[in-house]
């Protein structure tokens, strides 16, 4: 499902205009990301939790130039689904 379809669905559900939904969802995501950026984990009940995940730096070998490169560590957005969501998805 694309972003557009997803937003349309929210729009139907909340009786908001598409423009409003776009704006609100962008703000919501921003709020979550800001929380994560500060090192907090954001838990949404019935959905899951977002947390910063640190990927360690690693060295890679480039076979053509025969050099080793260091890929620095970086932080990504980690997500773990909640137990409630798991049971809901595996009902059958």
């Amino acid at each position: 499902m694309t972003n557009k379809e997803f937003l349309e669905r929210i729009s139907r559900k909340t009786d908001l205009e598409m423009d409003e939904v776009k704006f609100m969802s962008a703000s919501l995501i921003e709020a979550v990301l800001e929380g994560v950026h500060e090192g907090d984990s954001v838990t949404i009940q019935g959905f899951g939790s977002f947390e910063p995940r640190v990927k360690a730096s690693r060295k890679i070998y480039n076979p053509t130039s025969k050099t080793y490169m260091v890929v620095p560590s970086k932080t990504t957005l980690g997500y773990k689904m909640s137990a409630a969501l798991k049971t809901q998805l595996n009902k059958e």
């Binding site: 921003e30 929380g35 984990s41 890929v71 957005l77 689904m81 809901q88």
Partner: protein, 493 residues
Amino acid sequence: MNEKLSLQNIADALAQKAGVSKKAADAFSKAFFDTIVEVLATGEDAVKVKGMGTFKLVSVGNRESVNVTNGERIVIPGYKKVAFTPEESVVEFLNGKEEIRAESEVHTESEVHTESEVHTEKEIHTEKEIHTEITEYTGIIETEADNLSAISARDKKIKKEEKDDAPGDEEAIDALIQVLEPVHVEQAQDKFAAIDLVISTPESVAELRQQYEEAKAKMESAVEEARKANAEKMRLEKLLKRLEAYEVPESAEELPAEQEEQPAFDTSEEVETPVEQPAEKQQAVAETQTVENVAAVQQQPVPAKSEEEKRQEAFNRIMSERPKPEEPQEEKNGKRWWIIAIVALLLAAILFFLYRTFQNIEAVEEVPKVERKVKPNRPDKPAKPASTVVQDSLKKAQQADSIKKAQEADSIRKAFVADSLKKAEKAEKERIAKEEKAKKPARPATHVMQRGESLTRISQKYYGTKDSVRAIIRANTFKDPNNVPVGATVKLP
């Protein structure tokens, strides 16, 4: 820092950011995440959320494990889980947008060994990483597109505002619209009328029908031609039979048997639609001729023994065979000669059959039929001009038929050969699979680690499944199961 934020905190932040009430913000954020869950629960395999990433439904397969208390093997059932891939922009944001991509470093040779090992361990993940990269890029493209649309929307808004500022312009535009409108409306109406015309006029319908009828007629004429050709053949055969019936009434017993053969020779459609009128005319002509010939036949009785031999030779080259002048027989001798003729024909047919089997199966089946049809004409041989014409055309028809059948037979044979080849391949594969199966039980008790091997790979190799990794780990005492040194001996449980 390291706090646990809940939906409530997020909703509050949202209310602040968007300038809406806390209640509305709370409702919206609930709706937002509920929608994702709903969509995934309906079986959609992925939800892309711009500015965040992709939530993807992934199914985890069954895996084997060992009960720690009693050592029994158990199967942990598979389940569905939601995997999340963040967008590139999210990662950039979380890393403070300062991306120091990679530093090049040249390492000494002693380091090379360890590095390559690290590399092989990471290899397993590369496929996944490529996938995530792809999704990230698609996410970026989407965000760009959305940004563009947002910009255009903003432009529109600005224009609106400008309009409000300049009422004079608006008036001008209104006037313009008023001027333009009637013309456009008229044009549009005209177009609609034209479309209506096209749809409703009986002429256009009639035209279409005519085209349809023409096409149909063409098809039918083609079918009719084919039918005529077949009907012609049928008619000629009937004619021949009529001739026999006239002249050799004793052979009436044998005729039904021959008639039974014919349906097999013709396709069902041909039998249904013989062209009757011309056939009857010709039959009438042939009948008058045969009546005359019967009279002539009875006047001059001649021995037919040599004729029988000639016939037999002639059967061996049926395609080029021509009817020879033959003397009729007396009615009493007729029956005996008939039997001899049939025996001779059968012999010839068998010879032909054996000869043709090497070339073509279908053609062989065709030959004996040809002979039988020609045969009954012989002993009486009265209507020479009529029968030659009849036989010639019959032969032509049969030749064309046999060629067709030969082609069919050829294609059938090819298909058969291809089929048997496939079967052979299948059998070969099965045999190999069996051999492999037979090999598996005979696995060694230990395995020496080679470079580039992992326990997962060993499990796959000896047990045919990755699920046995845990069993292997339990059977050994590794310092680090994820990094077993090269040359280490692994016990295989």
